[in-house]
């Protein structure tokens, strides 16, 4: 295996609605920031991989236009995934393992504000039997939370504590959309939104983007004083149909964690892409995180959830903390699909 590391990361100041600039204008400053962060000219980038969904913009091939933010001339080697940016990073990592690529730039963006995001995301369900019901992701997450509460896997008190801890951390993150001191008991006094979920159990609706630069071997050492080495990365997928899965646990995360080697050493911090509060409890269990692991020091997706991007941000946040000496070993997790259908686990280490 070739050693590959995250060497640079940039993200937007996430917001509920960015209505004055388009996606290209949102991405462009980040490209400059990420390249400046790794101190490299654009022509050192061997491969560009992006992540987005045309359903969010409501425009076919909007991802092709987003390439203007990078500048694809002379022609570049490029790819795109209709998944979270963490999977774009995975594709770039695989390409590096093939040996021809030394430096790759990954970008992801998602504006949820142009459409009614709950209706838009209902379109990810199978179009024959579930799509016509317009079942949206909040309702599906509520089904999952109900199963977990009934099974005794977690409690509403634990869910409120997850929200309070993330909000507190979000207050220290200048890029987060939400943050502040909240009392878990006060949260539980709030009315239910889509029962058993309260509004704060759900992620905010966010417009945002992020860019990560990864590099292999000596290139990584050249471009970063302390690269965040990817020691393991794996992703697994479960059945689409919710009725086929045990929604109280995340088997795909357990498998990906085992293959990425999460348990091979102590974990200092974890960035978990669990958009709903109860999902953080499920993912934490699936990763086997010990007590004392700093979970979501950024505030996580409960404080900013740009779709197609929030998973890549977890990798960027974890890597930045490693590079700044805020930890030696971190776990970053990304999810996609309804009720944690697909999960990616990435183990990052400093040297």
């Amino acid at each position: 295996m070739r050693d590959v590391a995250v060497v640079s990361f940039a993200q937007t100041h996430h917001a509920r609605e960015v209505s004055d600039i388009n996606e290209v204008e949102m991405l462009m400053p980040l490209m400059g920031e990420a390249l400046a962060g790794s101190g490299i000219p654009k022509d050192r980038i061997d491969f560009v991989c992006s992540a987005s969904s045309d359903y969010l913009a409501g425009q076919p091939f909007s991802f092709v236009m987003s390439l203007d933010a990078f500048g694809p001339w002379p022609p570049i080697s490029e790819s795109h995934v209709d998944m979270d940016g963490a999977w774009a990073l995975y594709e770039a990592w695989v390409k590096m393992q093939m040996g021809k690529t030394d430096v790759a730039l990954i970008y992801a963006y998602g504006k949820s504000s142009p459409g009614d995001i709950r209706r838009v995301l209902s379109r990810q369900m199978d179009p024959y039997t579930v799509g016509p019901l317009w079942l949206d992701p909040v309702s599906m997450a509520a089904l999952q939370a109900r199963v977990g509460l009934e099974a005794g896997t977690f409690t509403v008190e634990q869910m409120a504590e997850v929200v309070a801890r993330n909000r507190r951390a979000g207050a220290t993150n200048p890029y987060a959309q939400l943050g502040g001191e909240v009392d878990p008991a006060a949260l539980l006094a709030e009315p239910e939104f889509v029962a058993p979920l309260r509004k704060h159990d759900c992620p905010p609706i966010t417009d945002g983007a992020a860019v990560v630069v990864i590099a292999a071997g000596d290139a990584a050492r050249e471009l970063s004083d302390r690269p965040a080495w990817i020691r393991g990365i794996d992703h697994r997928i479960e059945a689409h149909a919710l009725g086929l899965r045990d929604l109280t646990r995340s088997v795909s995360t357990e498998q990906a964690a085992a293959r990425a080697g999460v348990a091979d050493g102590p974990v200092d911090l974890a960035e978990l892409h669990a958009p709903f509060s109860h999902q953080e409890l499920i993912i934490g269990d699936a990763l086997g995180l010990a007590d004392g692991v700093d979970v979501n020091p950024s505030g996580g997706p409960l404080c900013a959830n740009p779709i197609m991007t929030a998973g890549l941000i977890r990798i960027g946040e974890a890597a930045t903390r490693i590079s700044r000496g805020g930890g030696d070993r971190a776990v970053a997790h990304a999810t996609s699909g309804p009720c944690l259908q697909q999960n990616l686990v990435c183990v990052l280490e400093g040297e």
Partner: protein
């Protein structure tokens, strides 16, 4: 399909061959700063491109970035309402909903002062006389119909100047 054996309860039942699941999603489109500024200028009967600070090319309509260098384009450049036909096609197909009488000419027009051509229609000249290098000018709709859309230019027409040299538009040919 023929080797699938249906359970007894489904035997003889007419198979579902297709379903319709209508879906409608509404979006608010954000043109962005560069396109918004361009369209507002069009509403004021002005054509304003933007110059790349690295390669100095002038883009119209501006997208806010240089696709070659990937840097923001911030310098506005006022462009003439005249230009040169770099390429053209003669449309002989009546597309659904088109208001144009066929045949008509769609052309790439390099506005004076810019470095990439815009697409527009050429009218007020027989279609078989349109050619690359032809000098043309914008014909705007009446002032009270002008708005933030390129339809504010009804079409381009020959402006009577002699043909531009190939050298002057070879980078766009």
């Amino acid at each position: 399909m023929s080797d699938v054996t249906l359970p007894a309860s489904l035997q003889g039942v007419e198979p579902v061959k297709s379903i319709r699941t209508p879906a409608r999603l509404d979006y608010v489109y954000t043109a962005g700063r560069a396109s918004s500024r361009f369209l507002h200028n069009v509403a004021n009967k002005r054509l304003v491109g933007q110059r790349c600070p690295v390669c100095h090319k002038v883009y119209v309509p501006p997208r806010g970035s240089c696709p070659t260098d990937g840097v923001p384009t911030e310098e506005d450049v006022e462009l003439a309402h005249t230009g040169t036909v770099t390429s053209f096609c003669v449309v002989n197909v009546a597309f659904m909903g088109t208001l144009m009488e066929i045949p008509y000419v769609g052309a790439l027009i390099l506005l004076d002062g810019s470095d990439i051509p815009i697409m527009h229609l050429i009218q007020e000249v027989p279609y078989d006389q349109v050619h690359s290098g032809m000098r043309v000018e914008a014909v705007w709709v009446p002032d009270d119909e002008i708005g933030p859309t390129l339809e504010s230019i009804r079409h381009f027409r020959p402006n009577g100047e002699p043909d531009a040299s190939f050298e002057s538009y070879k980078d766009n040919a």
